[in-house]
């Protein structure tokens, strides 16, 4: 039996190839994911192993809390140990590098790092040397490149109190794989200078050369943990490896989607093949093959297809992984990687997934094959799949139940439940269940959907158009499976674009509340207690291009004994620029001696209007009456007191944020220049405009959507292969029919067009179903996400999906159509 199977496969290489391709793509994606992440991991591991090799013992605080440090006396104690040749403490804090334009670089201040000297230096010095003394600095390689600094340049770096200091760049250093440094950039000094600049007095880590671990551990005591160099390297690599794990999981989810689509394509291909090989199966039964042997034969065939497809897939995965690495290398040169890593696990997992999915997909068709009676070998049967179609009781019931559950859960999640992650999970689950219902019902939907999708081609395409539309509907099960494969990709794509568009719309709506003016000036800071000088606000207030300058002052202080934000807003802005929705009371109730608070805090602290809160001020505790509770509509939260009261209670004069409203008739560019000029003397003052912010947000969302689109693209490509596959097999099946049409006067071009239209109709059915599902569940997800989300339907995008799918479907028809058109009429008439 196996011999028969293999001989059959050899005889039909094209069939093997077509079926195998779907699995190759899916497996390629999965193995590519592993190759990519393994290679990244290995690169990371190597880097850390190398740098950790220089350290004999490392001391770190036991606690994982962000503020946990090793104090200086511990370092002294370790230094005194016998055998210890060198000890270096790692100091790290904020030290904002000023760029060539006089502004602090980046969204957050650069990291200030201590750079050890001698043996314990574990960073690569790319150029120059390590810094020493209070006038020398080194720059992180990426930062130097981005900002255009080189060895010998003079640079300005701000200390903790934002005072400028001049340094000479003596080296360019690669600080290695570190997220924070990758994002913020870094400057390096010797340890003492780092302490002066960053205000940090303690160490994140102490590295020891010489000595032994036990002695060090005994010296530092139980509050600190000691590591050997190798352990330290492994720990660092693990932390960095967590990132690759996230990437791997994310990619594998898309890989699974692709495999699901592959499974559908394979199932369909095998179903059609079995239907077409009815006679072959019957002949096998005639000559004595048992049902079990026929079943085994089909499964063996699928296993071979799965093996070959998966093996090719692993190779494709190597290529994909290499491509992705090049891409990542271009985007983020921080991640240095060496050669590709193909582990045994990658091969094993990829092959297993490929073969198992293929064989499982072939089980149902194989079972059908066993039902072929031997006598069918002698009968000249009707074409497969042309019998009158009825959806069957089981399928109808299944479709109804799953559809109802899906709808009910979707409604529950989007309309009834409290917004948030759980509601979204419910909607996602509902989407899955409803989709299963659609799969069950799809064969019955093919005809009505086909009429809709085919309405235009049937009218405009003449006889070939009408025949094509009829052909697309003639085998509903086959068309249903073919189209549903496309529905998955397009559906998820539409879902994401609806959620993305709604996210943008929601963000825009939110932005109007939080960004009440055209411009916002904020200090560049890694934490909240940094302010802008009041002088800047005063300077801006003097400009007639600006209608309003609104200062928001805030600080953290005790309110009824708990740390809360207490803020004051420029009085003139209240009720004009800042217009919070009032939950209880009104803005005019905020008189001297009173306070108002946001709804969330009020609820949290069980406060209501009329209560008295005790605010810790610079002059002791002041009892203040709660006059009002405000809702959304302001960028500030916490306790808001009148400006005069704030002045009386606190010494803070500098604003945390300044909002600027442009005067009427002043162009945005002019206003921007005024604001930029005024803030020039303050390097850390960052000016953003509402428009820019909106744009950057929208860009970020588009970027994510594009990445998702790219990843889902594979599932869509596989589905298109499915269409090509189905069409190729249908063409084989209809050889005589095509010949008859050609004899009756159908030109080659018309025949090609007929098949293109058939593919178009199938693609549009699949895409349309996907778009409907995607939009519906996108709406549900948007609703479930939060209370203030705004639904937005990206018409053009969603419409574009259907059009693109149609176009791609036509493209998928090119090969089968050419084959069909090339066939000789006379030979085709003689077959079968």
């Amino acid at each position: 039996m196996l011999k028969t199977t293999l001989a059959g496969l050899r005889a039909h290489k094209l069939r093997l190839l077509l079926t195998g391709l779907a699995i190759t793509l899916g497996v390629g994606f999965i193995s590519g994911t592993f190759v990519l992440t393994d290679t990244m991991d290995k690169g990371v591991g190597k880097t850390f192993a190398r740098s950790a090799g220089k350290v004999d013992v490392a001391v770190l605080p036991k606690s994982d809390a962000p503020g946990a440090r090793v104090p200086a006396d511990i370092l002294q104690r370790v230094r005194a140990l016998p055998g210890v040749t060198d000890v270096q403490g790692k100091v790290q804090g904020d030290a904002a590098l000023i760029g060539k334009k006089g502004k602090a670089v980046g969204n957050m201040p650069t990291v200030g790092m201590s750079v050890p000297t001698g043996r314990l230096l574990r960073y690569d010095v790319d150029k120059g040397r390590t810094p020493s003394g209070g006038a020398e600095t080194v720059l992180d390689t990426q930062t130097a490149k981005r900002e255009g600094f080189k060895v010998g340049d003079a640079v300005t770096i701000l200390d903790k109190a934002s005072r400028p200091h001049r340094f000479t760049v003596v080296g360019i250093v690669d600080f290695g794989i570190d997220h924070e440094i990758g994002y913020r950039g870094a400057v390096g000094f010797d340890a003492a200078t780092t302490m002066l600049m960053t205000g940090e007095r303690q160490y994140r880590e102490i590295d020891v050369a010489g000595g032994n671990r036990e002695a060090v551990a005994a010296a530092v005591g139980p509050r600190y943990r000691t590591y050997t160099g190798a352990e330290l390297g492994a720990k660092l690599a693990r932390a960095a490896g967590a990132d690759t794990k996230v990437i791997r999981t994310g990619l594998l989810i898309f890989g699974l989607v692709a495999m699901l689509v592959s499974a559908l394509v394979i199932y369909n291909t095998f179903s059609i093949l079995i239907a077409q090989r009815m006679r072959e199966m019957a002949l096998l039964r005639c000559v004595g093959a048992t049902r079990r042997q026929v079943f085994g034969g089909v499964l063996a065939e699928s296993a071979v297809v799965g093996l070959v497809g998966s093996a090719l897939g692993v190779l494709a995965g190597l290529g994909l992984g290499a491509g992705a690495l090049v891409l990542i290398g271009d985007l983020n040169p921080q991640n240095k990687v060496g050669g590709l890593t193909l582990t045994g696990r990658t091969v094993a997992v990829a092959m297993a997934v490929g073969v198992i999915v293929t064989v499982l997909s072939a089980v149902l068709p194989a079972r059908t094959a066993t039902r072929v009676p031997p006598v069918a070998a002698l009968r000249n049967d009707l074409e497969p799949g042309s019998r009158r179609f009825r959806l069957g009781r089981l399928r109808t019931a299944l479709a109804a139940v799953l559809g109802a559950i899906g709808l009910a859960l979707g409604g529950l999640g989007s309309l009834v439940m409290e917004k948030g992650e759980i509601a979204m999970d419910v909607v996602a689950f509902a989407g899955g269940v409803f989709f299963l219902g659609v799969i069950a019902a799809m064969p019955a939907l093919v005809r009505p959907l086909g009429r809709v999708a085919g309405a235009i081609p049937a009218r405009l395409g003449g006889v070939p158009g009408r025949l094509a539309v009829a052909n697309a509907q003639r085998a509903p099960r086959r068309t249903a499976t073919t189209t549903i494969a496309l529905t998955i990709g397009i559906g998820l794509m539409s879902l994401f674009s609806v959620v993305a568009a709604s996210g943008k719309a929601s963000a825009a709506a939110q932005l109007e509340e939080q960004f009440p003016a055209e411009f916002q000036v904020e200090p560049q800071a890694a934490d909240g207690e940094v302010r802008l000088p009041h002088a800047l606000a005063a300077a801006l207030a003097g400009r007639r291009e600006l209608a309003r300058v609104i200062e928001v002052r805030r600080l953290k202080t005790g309110v009824d004994g708990r740390k809360e934000t207490v803020a004051a807003i420029t009085a003139a802005a209240m009720g004009t620029v800042m217009k919070p929705e009032m939950a209880h009371g009104s803005l005019s109730d905020l008189k001297p001696g009173t306070v108002m608070v946001d709804e969330g805090t009020a609820k949290d602290r069980r406060l209501s209007v009329g209560n008295t809160v005790r605010i810790a001020t610079a002059h002791g505790t002041a009892p203040v009456r709660l006059a009002a509770i405000y809702g959304k509509g302001t960028p500030v939260s916490g306790f808001i007191v009148p400006e005069a009261d704030f002045d009386r209670h606190f010494t803070v004069r500098d604003p945390s944020v300044i909002y600027l409203k442009t005067a009427d008739g002043v162009p945005a560019a002019v206003a921007r220049k005024v604001v930029d000029d005024a803030s020039r003397p303050y390097p850390t003052a960052r000016v953003t405009s509402a428009a820019e912010y909106k744009e950057s947000l929208s860009k970020a969302i588009d970027m994510i959507l594009m990445i998702f689109g790219g990843l889902l693209g594979l599932a869509i490509v596989i589905a298109l292969f499915g269409i090509a596959n189905t069409l190729t097999l249908s063409v084989v099946e209809r050889t005589r029919e095509s010949a008859l049409l050609r004899a009756l006067g159908l030109t080659r071009r018309q025949l090609r067009r007929m098949l293109s239209v058939e593919a178009l109709v199938m693609a549009v059915i699949g895409a349309f179903t996907g778009v409907v599902l995607g939009v519906a569940f996108g709406w549900a997800a948007t609703n479930a996400m939060g209370n203030h989300t705004v639904f937005s339907l990206p018409y053009l995008q969603v419409g574009g999906f259907v059009v693109l799918a149609g176009a791609a479907g036509t493209l998928a028809a090119v090969m089968p159509a050419r084959r069909a058109a090339k066939a000789s009429i006379v030979e085709s008439l003689a077959t079968g």
Binding site: L382, G462, V463, L467, A743, L744, G745, I825, V826
Partner: protein, 257 residues
């Protein structure tokens, strides 16, 4: 079956003279070198307009090949074929297709109909492919004569074999082609249905002046024709005018079939 066509249709006058199709020294070779098979070796034959001609011969005699070449379904290796006033040898695939669409009708042994179309749609298919207007009166008449009036909305799989062949006949007739080529039209039918189909074909020739060329190996079928041409090993070896089944059978025997 004596039901006949009420009046001769316009277009193909029964009295027209001259052959509808002429083959001159036509040869057809498949393959090359030692593997070359000479399916036709210099066949010259004419088919009169308004006549019913049968092509007979043993298996492998080249009768189907001849028909395919005459109908423009297959190309010739040598010689020329003139269909009506057009030489079809040397035409491009597209020209041949348009010629078939406008001037030729087909009835095959089996798989004559498109399963996705109803009987009526199948009948009208060649006209629609050619973008020609449907003459409803003529359609009604053809449909009535072949006895399909109450079957027009059925799909092929709802029709018997005989009914399917009658639909094929109607399709060939309704376009009023210069020639109808029939390839074993009764090969798959029982004798009663076969006789019906053959009667239509004959009466369409007699009463409408339709030209029909039919390939068959059945002496009874051939006896419906006005003339039988015999092929053997790719050559025309004999012919009978106004054949009877016995005469045909005798001739076949003498040819060694």
């Amino acid at each position: 079956m004596t039901s006949t066509f009420a009046s001769p249709p316009g277009g193909s006058p029964a009295a027209a003279t001259g052959p509808a199709v002429v083959a001159t020294d036509v040869s057809k070779v498949y393959g090359t070198g030692d593997a070359a098979v000479h399916a036709l070796r210099g066949v010259s034959v004419g088919f009169a307009r308004g006549a019913f001609t049968a092509i007979m011969g043993p298996s492998g005699s080249g009768k189907s090949t001849l028909m395919h070449c005459l109908a423009g379904l297959d190309t010739v290796s040598g010689g020329r074929i003139v269909l009506g006033d057009a030489e079809i040898t040397g035409l491009s695939d597209r020209q041949l297709t348009l010629l078939r669409r406008d001037r030729v009708g087909f009835i095959f042994q089996a798989f004559n109909l498109l399963p996705t179309l109803t009987a009526e749609q199948n009948i009208l298919l060649p006209l629609e492919l050619a973008g020609r207007k449907v003459d409803r009166r003529w359609l009604d008449q053809v449909v009535q004569v072949v006895g399909l009036s109450d079957r027009l909305a059925h799909r092929p799989n709802e029709l018997s074999g005989g009914q399917q062949q009658r639909v094929a006949c109607a399709r060939a007739l309704v376009a009023r082609p210069d020639v109808i080529f029939a390839d074993e039209p009764t090969g798959n039918l029982d004798s009663h249905s076969g006789a019906e189909v053959l009667s239509f074909l004959r009466s369409s020739v007699r009463e409408m002046g339709q030209t029909i060329v039919m390939v068959t190996h059945d002496p009874v079928a051939a006896s419906y024709a006005d003339r039988v041409v015999f092929l053997r090993d790719g050559e025309i070896v004999s012919e009978i005018v106004r054949p009877t089944p016995d005469a045909v059978l005798d001739r076949l025997k003498s040819l060694g079939a």
